[in-house]
Structure formats: C-alpha cells, structure tokens
C-alpha cells in the first residue's frame, strides 16, 4: 500500500507542475528569438574598447589584458603616439588589438587588468559566425565610434540588438576609477560606455531615500 501512496504522490507532483505551467506560473523558458530575457547587470558579453569623452582612445597598448588573459586570446601591440596627432592620452596606443572570440572564456580578467578601463564588456553574446576568421575581432570591430556607439559585427543579423553593445557590464560599478571603495560623490559608472557625461554616484543616504 505504501507503493500505491508513493504512486499517487508522484502523480500529484506532475499534475501540480502541469497545472502551474498551463496557468503560466513557474515557466522559465522564453521564446528566445522572439523574446529576449533581461540579462543580469553584470553579464559578461562581447568586449568593447572605450574612448574618453573627448574622443581619445583609452587603450595605451600596455598589453596587461593580454598578460592577464588565461585563454591567451588577446593580442596587442602598442606603438608610440604620433606627437602631432595623438590617438590616446598616454605615450603609446594599441595599434593592433585582436581578441579571438573562439578562445575567449569571458572571464573578465582583461577588464580587471586594464589600468585605464579601456576594455570593458557589454551584454551582447550572439556572436556565432560561419567562418573562423570572423571570430577574431580586430580593432575595427572592438573600438567604439567617436559618437559612443559600438559597431556590430553583423548588423543585418535578425538577432542583432545594438543596444546590448551599449550596455556595459557591472564591473565598473564594483570598482571606483580612483580605486577607492567609497566612491560616493565621484563620477564612477554609467550604464552605457561612451563619451557622455554622467552624474556622480549617489551617497548611501540618497540611495536609501
């Protein structure tokens, strides 16, 4: 008889799940190509090379990202800035910058290693290609345009959501540019990369209010 009880209890479980699913409760699956899920704020997606608000590139070609990369997928070569028309504020700039997206594990260590926050991650993850060469993103694809928008590799793709490229991952929220954890009142983070000016982080009291 305990077998019969277990049988009925099992039927109750599946029956309850079925009722819940039919009523629309607890169904986590989304109809992906038609609906997109809201990604977590700190989602690690495709990289982007940032610019300063005045249009200068942030990358100084130091290769720390390549050194930090556990997958060895970043290749950087720096070069001295031309004195009359500097590309970056520093001495050097990255004139070759390649990321092999087939090898990248999206760990974000390059973002942490970067001293100038030149490389950050976005929310875009639809990067499938039909060609291995297309998976190697070069400086042209990674670097944001002077107006702050980020070029999409396949803008014609039905899955292309350009807005995702302008959604920065949350790493910058966790670390202040000055390296001080108490980042209140300083310009720290914005949801989108680019040259826009952004408001200082609110204090704890302001956020609680």
């Amino acid at each position: 008889m305990s077998g019969l009880g277990a049988f009925l209890r099992g039927l109750r479980v599946t029956g309850k799940v079925m009722v819940d699913t039919v009523l629309g409760d607890g169904l986590v699956t989304t109809k992906y190509p038609q609906e997109f899920r809201q990604k977590p704020q700190r989602f690690h997606g495709r990289h982007v090379l940032n610019r300063y608000p005045d249009g200068m590139e942030k990358c100084i070609g130091c290769e720390l990202c390549a050194g930090a990369c556990p997958a060895r997928c970043i290749y950087v070569r720096g070069r001295d800035n031309p004195p009359d028309q500097p590309v970056s504020p520093g001495e050097r700039y990255g004139y070759v910058y390649e990321i092999n997206m087939l090898r990248c594990i999206f760990c974000g260590l390059c973002v942490e290693a970067c001293p100038t926050e030149a490389i950050t991650m976005t929310h875009l993850f639809e990067m499938s290609t039909s060609n291995r060469r297309d998976a190697i993103y070069t400086r042209q694809e990674l670097l944001m345009r002077p107006d702050g928008s980020v070029p999409h590799m396949f803008p014609e793709d039905p899955l292309a959501q350009p807005a995702e490229l302008n959604t920065a991952d949350g790493w910058l929220r966790a670390t202040a540019p000055s390296g001080v954890a108490a980042y209140e009142g300083v310009q720290a983070w914005q949801g989108t990369p680019g040259p826009a000016s952004w408001a200082p982080e609110p204090t704890q009291d302001e956020r609680d209010a």
Binding site: F7, G10, L11, V13, T14, G15, V17, M18, D20, T21, V22, G26, L27, V28, T29, K31
Partner: protein, 358 residues
Amino acid sequence: MDGLDILIVVGRVLAVFVLLLVTTIFNVWLERKTIADMQNRIGPDRAGPFGLLQTVADGLKLFFKEQINPSKVQYGMFVLAPFLAVIPALLLFMVVPFGRPFTIGDREVLLQGADLNVGVLFILAMSSLAVYAVVLAGWSSGSKYPLLGAVRATAQAISYEAAIGLSIVSVVMFSSTRAGGTLSLAGIVESQAGTYLGFIPRWNLFPQVVAFVIFFLAIIAETNRAPFDLVEAEQELVGGFHTEYSGMRFAMYQLAEYINIFSMSAICATLFLGGWNGPTFDGQVPAWISAVLPTIWLLIKTYAVIFAFFWIRATMPRLRYDQLMQIGWKRLIPAALVWLILSTVAISVRQFGLPWSA
C-alpha cells in the same frame, strides 16, 4: 446487398482509417505538449498554430529520409515487419463502436468498422498479432539490441495478454447479466446504457473496478508505454526493436504505437466507461447534434484514458525487467483470477440465488 450498402461499408472503414490517422497526428502532439507541461517546458510550438503541425513536419521529414538497409538484415522480413505492426493496429479499432447507429432512409448505419459478434476475441487476437511485428523486426535486424528488445517484447506481451484476457472475461460475464451475453462490443456498449439511482451512469467501471485497474495497467504494458516500455528502453537498448529502422519504416512503428494507444484507450472506454453512452438530449437540440454527441462522449472518455497514459509516463520511472514480470505474473494475473471468481460468485448468486436456497 446493393451499391449503397457497399458504399456504407467502405465509408465506415474509411471513417475509421481517417479517424485513426488524424488522431495519431493529434496524439503525438498532445503527448509531447502534456509531458512538456508536466516537466515545466513549453514543448512543440513552432509548426502551425500551437505547434499542431509538428507531427506532420516530423512525418514529412521521415518520409523523405533514406531507408537504410544494414548489411546483416534479412531483407524480406525486415521490410515486412513495419507493415505487420501497422495492420493489426488499424484493425484493432475496427470493432470499436464510435457512435450511436443512425438510419439513412430504411438502412441502419453502424458507426463501427465491423460489428463482429466475437469483437472481444478479435481485440485479443489483434493485439497479440502486433507482437509478431516486434519479434520479426528484432530477428531480421541482425543486431543484438533489436533482438533483446524483441525477446523482451514477446515475454511482456504474453504475460500481460493473460491479464487483459482475464479482466475482459469478468466484464463480459457481468454484461451478460444485462444484455443476454455477447462478445460484440456494440452489445457491451448497449448493456451500459442508463443510470444507477438516476445520476450514476451504469458503466462497467463501478461494479468491475478491479478489472478496470488490471485492464488499464495491462494495456499500458501491451502498448509498450512507459513505465513498461522495456521493449524500446532507450537507455539500455538504444532504440529497442526499431534500432535499425529509419525513414518511413521507423515512422510506421511510431504510427502503430500511437494508433495502438488510441485504440486501446477507446476499447478501455468502451468496455468500462460506457462507450458512446452519454446524454444526447434527444428532441431538445437539433437532430444532428444528438447524432454527433455520442461520438464526442466516446472521444472525451478515450482522451481521459490517454491522458492517464501520458500522466503516468511523465511520472513513473521505468520498471526493471524482473519487476515487470513480477507485476504481470504475481500481481495482475492472480488479482484478475480472484476478481473473476468473486464476480462469478456474485453474478451467480444474483441470478440463481444462494446454493442452499433452492
């Protein structure tokens, strides 16, 4: 027997055939959708409205796929086996009355493939014949997993055939107290007309509830459905007896399986749930509604049984082989025998009085 009679017969057979094929298309979708719901998934929803055309798409895909002949198959039997699976499955439903007989002019049209006076025996015969397809497929494939699946199928079908037969015997005996004894399914349906106390339908389910449970468990095993699907246990036997089949031949096994589910559920509804009996509101609604309602009642009852099939499949893990045999031989058959004796005694006492009262 003139032209119109022949036309009616052909029409009846065609109606059964079309009904089986259309419901199969629907049932595959329904099963996938039901089980998806029970497993917190969405299920097929791409092809057509609500994914209803998914089965058609799958069927077309299989239709255009290559039918591979592995080098060790015995060709004749290998090709024949899928047909041997489909034909008994189609014939199985022929004896099930799927609606109230109606009259065209002076002719009575039975909504039934054929009203055999040995309908119940015919069901047992056809469901046993289906085993041949499995055995021949397993043998002719020249491969070990199909053979293992086929051997399992034989043992399983024979074991559960006995339980089905015994539980049907008590139903037939019980309905003989009402309708004068018949093996015809139409007769058994008519014997269940009416109600107890004015509101409980006079289905065989209520007096024969043990036989119903035994019959239901046995038809799950007979149609090789989970949790008794050891014949095609994917985790142990690759695909079981149809491992070496591809393309349309494979599709025919699937077709046969789903037709069997529908037919067996319809037979279960006919034997125990009153068949097409149900309120028809004669005279209160247009005549065509009264004519169609019995078919709808039968479909509702059938789908209730089918839903129980799906529900159990989504819930229960597969039985081990010795457990399967134990349930068949040590539980179901003794229970069916005991129930048969009990109901025989009860029926005799009701008909002839107590032995010492004469």
